[in-house]
């Protein structure tokens, strides 16, 4: 039976209507106006409103009915007296009944309207449920997509709690996230402030629940109650939660992937949880576990890395200290031998002389090994000093060849030199170049047996093997190539990539061939890197090896680069264009305007070194597609301009990534060609 509200003066009709309703109200013309009607409808909440068309201003009641009740589904029925009456509020009416009223018809009509009302109500309820689910799904989706964005445990935990709050609107959520060495972090998010006892209780409760979740099994990560750090997030409010809240509804779950535990979570809520709530809760908790695992692994890796770095540093320092200590006693040994040998300490026989010489030779060898160790640790700790100068490289090559020629003759090895006369000037540290050559030639000598040969050849304007990748794009691709060929034991193909690694000879343990500890080539490679040089190795087992050293023809930019590296390291987002003349500043400005180079917030100064440079260093940071067009039209022109304006200038172009360089090349044509065209 329905709740019916009747607006009529017809007493007979009113009593008839009340017969078919569970509860009915009537309105009296004299003391009720529309305002009272609204109040009454709100309180009474009828299912059906019947308005008598004989009633004064009955149309107002019809129009107001649905709004007043705040119920879209309320059924408005108009009781019509006169068929011809022109009714302009028909669109507000759900049904019509005509006077004279037949009892059966009224009953049927009321029943059918009641059914309609109930169906609509149910539909509305379902809609509400649906939109709630939709909201939850949305929140779930949002939360899970946020998980992917971070590898920080605290952030992950916060994202999870915010997501859960949006979906479940909890009163309190507490999460225990396991850390290392029995430590843990307890995150507490609460709607109100919480009392100290409650805080303590939550901490205790979660730890216990965590321990209990393993029942009789062994707990994989024990948690020390004293090592729990609390992160509390409460909303300031007048109300304070105390222990009573623990009587509310709770949801609890472990956070885990397979057998890996990352923590536990519990949420407390006054209202009961629906089955959807539980599903959502489980989904989110399940989803946070995977990123938590990654975060844990990430933390471990980071820690290991720090440890390794420390270890590496300690090792380098250790090597350095030990080598110094080893060097000290060698000096008096050498001196004593020197004294005995000179005959100052008494006459010596030929045999004695022979053995003392042998001792001396080995002291020198030991010093060499110690020097190598020291050099390596200097190179690795960046303590090696370089003195770069523009100088002729030939004297250095000659000097090294001269030194080894004699040793080669002693070993009955043919030492052949094929060195061009005018090799030209290079920007080098001659002592390091000599060291590089000595290391490689002494290796050749070491591994070549009697009647073999060693050949040193130079070639100007050489192009290195395509497989060799220079860290710097050198436009003219112009190098001096020094080849050292020998007929020695050769290197197995699979070993070639390893020979520049530290202690590579030691690793190959038993198959020892000759002295040395395998540091020479490591040092050589590092020294060559500093010169922006390259090295390639061709070798065949038992036939011999060829080491090709490439030293860039330019090298003044090494200076630039060192300067630039310092600056770029400070502000990695900033691109630099190294320029020579003042007018070139316009170029920078243009690039800035087009957003090709950006100044970061930590603004930095571009220092333009003074002096008449022959080289340009253009560094382009991240290339964005929008910038490519601009570069196409401008850089090409600019490079051409630079080339025509100054003779013999070299341009070095560098981009942040290889792909960017490829893009650039495809636009400008190969940069090498560009250089050639203008020369």
């Amino acid at each position: 039976m329905a709740k019916i509200f009747v607006i009529s003066k017809d007493e007979e009709f009113k009593s008839l209507a009340s017969k078919f309703s569970s509860e009915s109200r009537f309105i009296d013309y004299n003391n009720k106006d529309t305002f009272d009607f609204i109040e009454e409808i709100k309180n009474f909440r009828p299912d059906i409103i019947i308005v008598d068309s004989a009633y004064d201003s009955y149309e107002n009641f019809i129009k107001l009915g649905k709004t007043a009740s705040n119920d879209e589904n309320i059924q408005m029925v108009l009781a019509l007296h006169d068929e011809d009456k022109n009714i302009d509020c028909m669109s507000y009416v759900d049904g019509i009944i005509k006077f004279p009223i037949d009892e059966d018809i009224l009953k049927t009509i009321l029943n059918s309207h009641m059914k309609t009302k109930r169906s609509f109500d149910k539909l509305a309820d379902n809609n509400k449920e649906l939109s709630k689910s939709l909201y939850q799904i949305n929140a779930l989706y949002n939360t899970s997509s946020q998980f992917a964005g971070t590898l920080n445990k605290d952030d992950l935990c916060n994202i999870m709690l915010e997501g859960l709050n949006r979906i479940l609107s909890f009163d309190i959520a507490s999460v225990l996230i396991l850390g290392q060495n029995k430590s843990a972090v307890l995150h507490i998010n609460s709607l109100c402030e919480i009392s100290k006892t409650l805080m303590h209780a939550l901490k205790m409760r979660l730890t216990l629940k965590y321990n209990n979740s393993f029942e009789d099994e062994k707990i994989p990560f024990e948690v020390d109650f004293r090592k729990i750090k609390i992160v509390e997030k409460t909303k300031p409010s007048s109300n304070i939660y105390d222990l009573k809240i623990l009587n509310y509804n709770t949801l609890f779950a472990p956070i885990k992937v397979g057998d890996n535990f990352f923590g536990v979570i519990e949420i407390i809520k006054k209202e009961p949880f629906s089955s959807e709530d539980v599903t959502c809760f489980q989904t989110i908790v399940h989803q946070v576990a995977l990123p938590l695992r990654s975060a844990t692994l990430y933390e471990e890796i980071k820690e290991t890395n720090i440890k390794l770095e420390k270890l590496e540093k300690i090792k380098s320092e250790f090597v350095s200290v030990v080598s110094h200590e080893l060097r000290t006693p060698l000096t008096p040994i050498n001196n004593s031998l020197e004294i005995v040998l000179s005959g100052q300490a008494g006459e010596i026989s030929d045999d004695t002389k022979n053995f003392i010489n042998m001792a001396k030779r080995n002291v020198i060898r030991l010093s060499g090994i110690i020097e190598d160790l020291l050099d390596l640790s200097r190179v690795q700790t960046g303590k090696l000093e370089y003195k770069f100068k523009k100088m002729n490289i030939k004297p250095s090559i000659d000097l090294v060849c001269q030194t080894f020629k004699q040793s080669a003759q002693e070993k009955n090895i043919n030492f052949e030199e094929n060195i061009e006369d005018d090799l030209g000037e290079y920007y080098i540290d001659n002592r390091r170049i000599e060291q590089i050559l000595s290391n490689i030639i002494s290796n050749a000598l070491k591994f070549t047996s009697e009647k073999g040969y060693i050949k040193v050849t130079t070639k100007k304007n050489a192009r290195p093997d395509d497989r060799l990748v220079s860290p710097v794009k050198i436009l003219d691709n112009n190098y001096l190539k020094i080849s050292i060929e020998d007929s020695g034991v050769g290197i197995k193909e699979e070993d070639i990539p390893k020979i520049f690694d530290k202690f590579s000879q030691v690793e190959s343990s038993l198959a020892r061939n000759t002295g040395g500890i395998g540091l020479g080539l490591t040092i050589t490679k590092q020294l060559l890197d500093t010169h922006f040089g390259l090295v390639s190795v061709e070798s065949e087992k038992d036939k011999g090896s060829v080491f090709n050293i490439y030293i860039p023809n330019y090298s003044q930019e090494i200076n630039f680069r060192m300067e630039l590296n310092k600056t770029i390291l400070k502000a990695p987002n900033l691109g630099l264009i190294y320029i020579r003349q003042e007018k070139d500043c316009n170029f920078i400005q243009k690039l800035e305007e087009k957003n090709i180079i950006k100044k970061t917030q930590n603004s930095m100064e571009i220092t333009i070194p003074q002096g008449n440079y022959e080289h340009y260093f253009i560094y382009i940071p991240r290339l964005e597609d929008s910038a490519l067009n601009f570069i196409q039209t401008n850089i090409e022109q600019e490079i051409k301009n630079l080339k025509t304006n100054s003779e013999n200038c070299n341009i070095l172009l560098e981009t942040a990534t290889k792909t960017d360089m490829k893009k650039l090349e495809s636009i400008i044509g190969t940069l090498d060609e560009l250089g050639d065209k203008n020369e």
Partner: protein, 122 residues
């Protein structure tokens, strides 16, 4: 007749000093400077004792030792292994290959000489 000792080591300086000292003590010394030659001389010259280095070109000392000790013809020749590899694990490998003694570098000549005498003393 004086006893014959074969020294196998790729370090010429070591061979030379050892040979000099052993000759002073009345032994006859022959030398090989790599594994292959060492094995050849061991078989051809039938020495009374072999002083054998481990890390050598061509054939390493462990292998030579094993080849000799598993050959009935040569297994009676005492072998003293001399090496810079002094880890317990290396010594164990040396013993497993059947070497009679294992001496680590650097060693005092007297220590080696005592060991030599143990096997080929007068």
């Amino acid at each position: 007749m004086s006893k014959k000792i074969l020294i196998v080591d790729d370090e010429r300086d070591i061979v030379e000093t050892l040979a000099f000292m052993l000759k002073q003590k009345g032994y006859e010394c022959i030398a090989a400077y790599d594994g292959e030659e060492g094995l050849k001389l061991a078989k051809e010259e039938a020495p009374d004792l072999i002083i054998l280095d481990v890390m050598m070109p061509k054939i390493n000392g462990y292998k030579i030792c094993r080849l000799l000790k598993f050959d009935t013809k040569y297994k009676e020749i005492p072998i003293i292994m001399v090496t810079a590899r002094g880890q317990a694990q290396d010594i164990q490998i040396g013993e497993e290959t059947g070497a009679d003694e294992y001496i680590t570098k650097p060693f005092e000549f007297n220590e080696l000489f005592d060991t030599v005498q143990k096997y080929v003393g007068e």
